[in-house]
Symmetry: C2
Subunit: 458 residues, 2 copies
C-alpha cells in the first residue's frame, strides 16, 4: 500500500506531501533537523480531517497533528511510520462577534493573525507569547499555552469557549459553544485542551475576546529579599484592583546577563540587587491609572518592599523593559543551556533555588545558573549553562537535579510547555500513579487503537 497515493485519493492531491518533500522542511523553531514521516496531509476542512483520520484509523496508522511547530518538548515529533496531519491549510477566521466578544476560527490560524484581526474592533485576544508569529491557535489549545499575561487573563484553557475536535476514528465532536456559562453536561472541550493531540484533533475554536485596554503602565523595580518579592506581588495585586497584568521576576544573575554586553540591553537601575521585578498593568485611563500605579509603587518603597524603581514614561520604555526580560537568547552565549519551565508554590521558590545553587557545583562542576519567571503564577524558568562539549553528558544529571529538587516542594515539571517526549520520563515527579492510570483510561476510551500522537506524555 502506498500511503501517499491513498491519502491523495482522499483529499486534494496537492494537500499531501511525501517523505522526500518533508525532508526539506524544518522540524520546528530553534531546531536543526527536518521533518520525518511517511507523509504529510494538509486538510482544509473538518470533513477532510475526519476522512483522513477514519482512513488512518482503519489502517492502524499513527497520526501526529502539527500546528506552528513552536513547541519546546518534542510534542509533535513524528516517526517514519507515521502520518503528519498539518493544520496549515485551515487558517480561516470565520467570525468575529464584537458584541458577544467571541472569535470563531479554524485551528490553523496563527495567534498573531487573530490578535491583529480583533485589534481592528478595539478588542484583544489576550493570549500572548514569543512565538505569536507562527504558533497556531489549535496548538495553543492542544498545549494549553500560557505566556505573559496569565495572572490577568488566565491560560489558553480560560479563553476557549467552544471547540470542535475529530476523534481518532474520524467522529466529529462539534462543541462550538459561544456562551460563558453553559452547564449542560460534561465540559468536553477540557478533554482536548492541554492533552497535546493525544485524544483528538482540534479543528475549530470559539475564543473569548476582551475589551482592549486603553492604558499601559510598567516599571522595573529592585528588591532586596525574596520575602519582599512575594509581599510586593500581594501589594501590587491588591493596590491595582484587577489591573495587574504581569509580575516578571529576574534573579540578579539573569538581570546582569541581559543588561551587560554582549547583550544590547541597558540596565535601567543598578545591577547589584538580588531581585528585579517587571511589573505591568493594563487599564482604562492613562492618567488615572498612572497615578494609581505610581502611588502603589511609592507605598511599596515606603514599606521597604522595593529598593529602587524605574518607571516607564513611554511605550519605548515599556518595550525596553520587556526586551530585557525577553532576551533569553543570551543564555546561549558561551555555552549550552539546559532550559527548564517549572512551577512551584511561591513560598518554596527561594529554598528550591538555594538547594539547586548549592548542589550544582559539586554535581556538575563548571556552569552558570539563571532564574527568572512569571512569579505571579508560580512559573519559573531555570537555565543551567554548561560548556558545550559537556552538554550531552551533563544534561541528564542537570535534569535529575532540577526535577528531583521539585519533588520535595510539590512542584510541576512543566508549568506551560507541556510534556511531549522530552519530559515524559519526569512526569511521575508531578503526577502520581493513580493520576497517570486515569490518563491511560481516558486515552484508551477515546483512542483505543492508540493512533494519535503515539508515545507522547505517558
Amino acid at each position: 500500500m502506498n500511503i501517499v497515493e491513498s491519502l491523495r485519493a482522499l483529499v486534494d492531491e496537492t494537500a499531501v506531501l511525501d517523505a522526500t518533500t518533508l525532508a526539506t522542511r524544518s522540524a520546528g523553531a530553534h531546531r536543526a533537523d527536518t521533518l520525518t514521516a511517511q507523509a504529510m496531509v494538509r486538510p482544509s476542512t473538518t470533513e477532510e480531517v475526519s476522512t483522513v483520520l477514519a482512513w488512518c484509523h482503519a489502517q492502524g496508522i499513527g497520526v501526529v497533528t502539527q500546528g506552528g511547530l513552536t513547541g519546546l518538548v518534542h510534542g509533535a515529533d513524528a516517526s517514519t511510520a507515521e502520518v503528519i496531519l498539518s493544520l496549515e491549510s485551515m487558517r480561516r477566521i470565520e467570525d468575529i462577534d464584537v458584541r458577544q466578544r467571541t472569535a470563531t476560527v479554524q485551528a490553523g490560524v496563527v495567534l498573531q493573525a487573530l490578535q491583529e484581526a480583533v485589534d481592528a474592533h478595539d478588542l484583544i485576544f489576550p493570549l500572548d507569547l514569543g512565538a505569536r508569529g507562527s504558533a497556531t491557535l489549535g496548538g495553543n489549545a492542544a498545549t494549553n499555552a500560557g505566556g505573559n499575561r496569565v495572572i490577568r487573563y488566565g491560560m489558553m484553557r480560560d479563553m476557549v469557549l467552544g471547540l470542535e475536535a475529530v476523534l481518532a476514528d474520524g467522529t466529529v465532536v462539534s462543541s462550538m459553544n459561544r456562551l460563558i456559562k453553559n452547564n449542560t453536561g460534561y465540559d468536553l472541550k477540557q478533554l482536548f485542551i492541554g492533552s497535546e493531540g493525544t485524544l483528538g484533533v482540534i479543528t475549530r475554536l470559539v475564543l473569548r475576546l476582551r475589551e482592549k485596554p486603553q492604558s499601559h503602565q510598567a516599571a522595573l523595580v529592585a528588591v532586596e529579599s525574596f520575602d519582599a518579592v512575594a509581599n510586593l506581588l500581594k501589594h501590587m495585586d491588591r493596590s491595582l484592583g484587577g489591573a495587574l497584568s504581569a509580575f516578571e521576576v529576574m534573579w540578579q544573575s539573569f538581570y546582569q546577563l541581559v543588561s551587560t554586553p554582549p547583550a544590547k540591553g541597558q540596565p535601567p537601575i543598578d545591577a547589584g540587587f538580588p531581585y528585579y521585578v517587571l511589573v505591568e498593568s493594563l487599564g482604562a485611563d492613562r492618567e488615572a491609572d498612572s497615578q494609581r500605579f505610581n502611588a502603589a509603587l511609592e507605598t511599596a518603597l515606603e514599606h521597604g518592599l522595593i529598593a529602587d524603581a524605574a518607571i516607564a514614561h513611554s511605550d519605548a520604555d515599556v518595550q525596553a523593559f520587556w526586551a530585557l526580560r525577553d532576551d533569553v537568547m543570551q543564555v546561549t552565549v558561551g555555552g549550552a543551556p539546559v532550559v527548564f519551565d517549572v512551577s512551584l508554590p511561591i513560598v518554596e521558590m527561594e529554598a528550591f533555588v538555594a538547594r539547586l545553587r548549592a548542589a550544582l557545583p559539586q554535581e556538575i562542576g563548571e556552569h552558570r545558573l539563571w532564574v527568572f519567571g512569571h512569579l505571579g503564577d508560580g512559573n519559573l524558568h531555570v537555565i543551567v549553562q554548561v560548556p558545550a562539549p559537556d552538554y550531552l553528558a551533563l544534561r541528564p544529571r542537570i535534569e535529575a537535579l532540577v526535577y528531583e529538587g521539585l519533588r520535595a516542594f510539590s512542584g510541576s515539571v512543566s508549568a506551560e510547555h507541556g510534556i511531549g517526549l522530552e519530559k515524559k520520563p519526569w512526569l511521575p515527579i508531578s503526577r502520581n500513579p493513580n493520576e497517570i492510570a486515569l490518563m491511560r483510561t481516558l486515552k484508551q476510551a477515546l483512542d483505543p487503537k492508540h493512533i494519535l500522537n503515539q508515545g507522547k506524555i505517558f
Copy 2:
C-alpha cells in the same frame, strides 16, 4: 443482606443512617418532600469514602453523593434502592496559604464558612450565590456553580486548582495541585467539575483565593433599549479596566414586581423604563474608584446609553439595590412560577424574549412573564407564572416553549444550575448526538457499572 448493617461495619456506626431516619430529613432547600434511600453514609475521611464506594461497587449498589442539598434540578435525588453518600462530616478547612493564596478544604465545607475564614486574612474566595449558607464547596465544584461575580472571577471551574476524587470502584485520584500553571498531562480535575457526581466523588479541593477588594461601587441605571444595554456592558467593561464585577439586567416587569408592594423594595428610579441594570465594580481605592465609576456612568449618560441612574452612596444603598435583584421570591406571589436558567448570545436575547412573549398568550393563556439575569455572562433567568391550579398541566408546555425557543439561537438550557433529572429531556437542545455519545464514553470508562448518580444528566 442488610445494607445498613454492612455499612456500619465499614465506617463509624453513627455515620450510617437508615431509611426511617432519612424520612425525617428534608430533601433540600425549597422542597416539601423528605429523603429517600436505603441508607445514608457520612464518611469523615477520603479513606472512608473509598471504602464505602469499593463496597457499593462490589455489590452493584447505586450511590448518590449529596452536599448541601441546594441544587435546583433534582441532581442529587436518590431512589429507595440507592445509598446516599453525604459529605456533611467532611467540613474541615485544612489549610489557608496566605502567600500562595490557596485554601485546601474537605468537600463538605460550606461556602460561607470558607468565605468567612479567608476574610480574616484579607482575602476572598470569590464564588458567591444565594445558597452560600448551606451549599458545600464539593457541590459547587460538582455542579460548576456560577453566581453573582462570574464576569469578574469566572465560574467555580476557574477557582479550583486541584482536587481529590474517589472513582466508582474506590480508587482515590488525588490531584491536589496548588499551582496556577501546571501542564503535566491531562487536567483530570476538569472531569469531575460540573459532571454532577456521575464520574466520581469529590472529597477535597485546592481553591484559588484572591486579594480582597478595598472598595465597592454600585449603581442602578435605567436603559431605553436592549441595544443600549448591550453597548453599556461594553462601555462599562472597558471604562472600568478589569474592575466590573456584576452587570445584572432586569426587564421592566421584573423591576416593577420587586419594587412594588407586596415586595418591600422601593424603586430608586422611576419604574417606567424598559430595562434596568445593576452595575457593580470592586476596586482598590474608594475615592479613585468612585470617581472612575461615576465618570463612566456620566459618559454613558452623555452618549444616551442610560436614561437615568441612582448611584449607591453607602453600603446600605448597595445592599438595597441587590435586595431588589435578589427578591426572587416575589414570583411566588399570586401564582406558581416555572423558573428557567438559560443562556444565549447577548445579540439574540431580545429576539428570544420577544418570541416567547408573543407565543405565551396563545399557548398557555393567563400568565405573567419576568426576565432578569447576569447579562455580562449571557445568563438569563426567565420566569413564567401561571395560576397554581394549572401549574402541573401547563409546566411541560411552558418548558417546551422556552427550551425549543432556545434552539434557534444556539442557547443553553442550563447556564448554571446543571441538568440533573429535571432538564435531562431537554439536553439534546443544547448538545448534539456526538457530544452526548462522548459523554457516555466517558461515563463508561470511569464508571462501567454505572453506580454513581444513576440516570442523571443523560
